[in-house]
Subunit: 334 residues, 2 copies
DNA sequence: GTGAAAGCGCTAACAT
DNA sequence: ATGTTAGCGCTTTCAC
């Protein structure tokens, strides 16, 4: 069975390829009768569009790329949930697919996002965890719409930013603990205090200030944002004194802390309250269920794709900043 | 900055496009000097290959498709982990990328995998959760290599099967419970007893037989394979009598069961032991940690891609069946 | 409203 | 060892 092309359709329907092409692309330039005839022939011959040819002719691939740092998908369910959201949105689009970055090397042997975008003629890209401004600037120069999740570089002309109010999150979490009567609250953060960590920390400070409490430098614990990092923090907490509650910037770390504590004589929340951040699905599964700040990760992913789809379909978008609402989820750990 | 093509390279290097093409594709037909010169020019002009053009000319896209039923990614971390494994493998390949199925509709308005494969000129496909033999047969006719995860249809000429020994898993799990002294063991399965569920159930039966125990029909509980399904089973178990242990075909369900029980007066494992299946990452996080059958989900995903990559690179693969080893993970729930 | 034809960037068969 | 050239299937400008 030879491949059916628009040429075959054109011949069979007694029209030119241009007309067939117009019909396929919804460009209404022909009589309804012609259109109908073409549609029928397409169906009869079981025509399938060749997107590579289309891409070559238009320089648009109908592909949205997703760039994520290596290994992240394994380390934190956060990223999987994000991907679920993206998947859910892309499935609603008729024509677009989601491309996961393989490993294109540039001349230096490194993965080069701009190379990748150009080779694949990507129409848009979503970035997660890429914080190198130079890379993002280079992509911006390519002129395709892009989405940054959890990051903002206002100078980028073609970027949309999907974020949450991290400072507020830190504030709400800490305030909740203070309202519950805890006074000596530890801050558990990632090893690298990047943008969002810093904001959450500032929220933590604001809640203290508001309650006229003074947080101690000794109450700051930094480890990798992972379950393993949490285990380590747990160990350190066992020998720390006077702490009655902790605000942990990521649920996944909180799980590790809870695990370590479960093997000690400290009970949660009686001896130590804990509030996380993210509201991972497993925060509900875990026993006791984790009090946390919900940041609707799924929606974050969904929005990333939706905004790009809208942009690609020519809708004019009023705002480059999309802020996903957050809320406190009361679990059993506080 | 106009796009640089092999034509430009050819002109600049004083050779023909064919030679440039050969160099790019590693076809050694020219003198090292020519090759060197071409490489230098490519670098100087910052050449980027256009994969759409290549795909059009060769009918190969350097793309591997991943087809997964809608919604699964959200329902069970199993699928995310699988995807992590695939991601990890695809990143090691120089030239391939992973494409997530968007929503191509066929003439009936349904998503059509064969349409998708043809439109995108996919080189290979991984299927997860697609059990419709007709669909798979249609794909098989296209002649591209494919991988089925957790499913086998021996009649498919171009398929590889990534599986585990599910019967053995069911056997090991049940045997473990019996050895621990439990005698009245419930079987918790999915609502649809498909291939793998049935096998796990058979393993459950074999372990009983071997121990000269007779499992009761009343001890079978079927619900959706999800956390919510587990919650429901938990409720049903509360009013069930005499059961001292349960074998649950999926960790995610076990989490639900544990949650429901945690709100009752039944303690795990004192009043009710529980063993799961999968060894999700969260099975370790959860408190108490879940005894389960590890099936190395990450490896499953990784192998899927690796076998396809090997096949696409022309390696002859001796076996269409790849069986991932499983093992018992002793947690605190038994 | 419809058609003819050039061209998108690359490959591969055939020449030299 | 290198060059010539005819496609791959589609879009798009321009002409009718």
């Amino acid at each position: 069975m030879k491949k059916v092309t628009i040429k075959d359709i054109a011949k069979e329907a007694g029209v030119s390829v241009a007309t067939v092409s117009n019909v396929i692309n919804g460009i209404n330039k022909c009589t309804p009768e012609t259109k109908d005839r073409i549609l029928k022939v397409m169906d009869a011959l079981n025509y399938k569009q060749n997107l590579a040819a289309k891409a070559l002719a238009t320089n648009r691939s109908n592909l949205i790329g997703f760039v994520l740092n290596k290994g992240l998908l394994q380390e934190n369910p956060f990223y999987s949930t994000l991907l679920s959201g993206m998947d859910s949105a892309i499935r609603k689009s008729e024509n677009y697919d989601l491309l996961i970055a393989g490993a294109f090397k540039d001349s230096t042997g490194e993965f080069s996002v701009t190379d990748w975008i150009q080779k694949r003629s990507l129409d848009a890209v979503v970035f997660m965890g890429i914080t190198d401004e130079e890379i993002l600037k280079d992509v911006d120069k390519l002129g395709i719409p892009m989405v940054l999740i959890d990051l903002k570089f206002e100078s980028l002309k073609n970027a949309f930013f999907i974020t949450i109010d991290d400072e507020l999150g830190g504030y709400l979490a800490t305030k909740h603990l203070i309202e519950k009567g805890y006074r000596n609250i530890a801050f558990i953060g990632g090893k690298y205090i990047d943008g969002i960590m810093k904001e959450r920390y500032e929220g933590y400070l604001r809640a203290h200030l508001e309650a006229k409490l003074e947080p101690s430098e000794k109450n700051i614990f930094l480890e990798n944002v992972s379950y393993e990092g949490g285990l380590k923090v747990g160990e350190r907490l066992l020998s720390a004194d006077g702490i009655d509650a902790i605000f942990c910037v990521a649920d996944i770390m909180a799980f590790g802390i809870m695990k370590t504590l479960s093997k000690s004589d400290k009970n949660i929340p009686e001896n130590l309250a804990i509030i996380g951040f993210d509201n991972l699905k497993s925060s509900e599964y875990i026993i006791p269920s984790l009090t946390t700040i919900d940041q609707n990760i799924f929606l974050k992913g969904k929005k990333s794709i939706e905004v790009l789809l809208d942009k690609l379909e020519g809708k004019s978008l009023n705002d480059k900043n999309i802020v996903i609402p957050i809320k406190l989820i009361k679990g059993e750990t506080t």
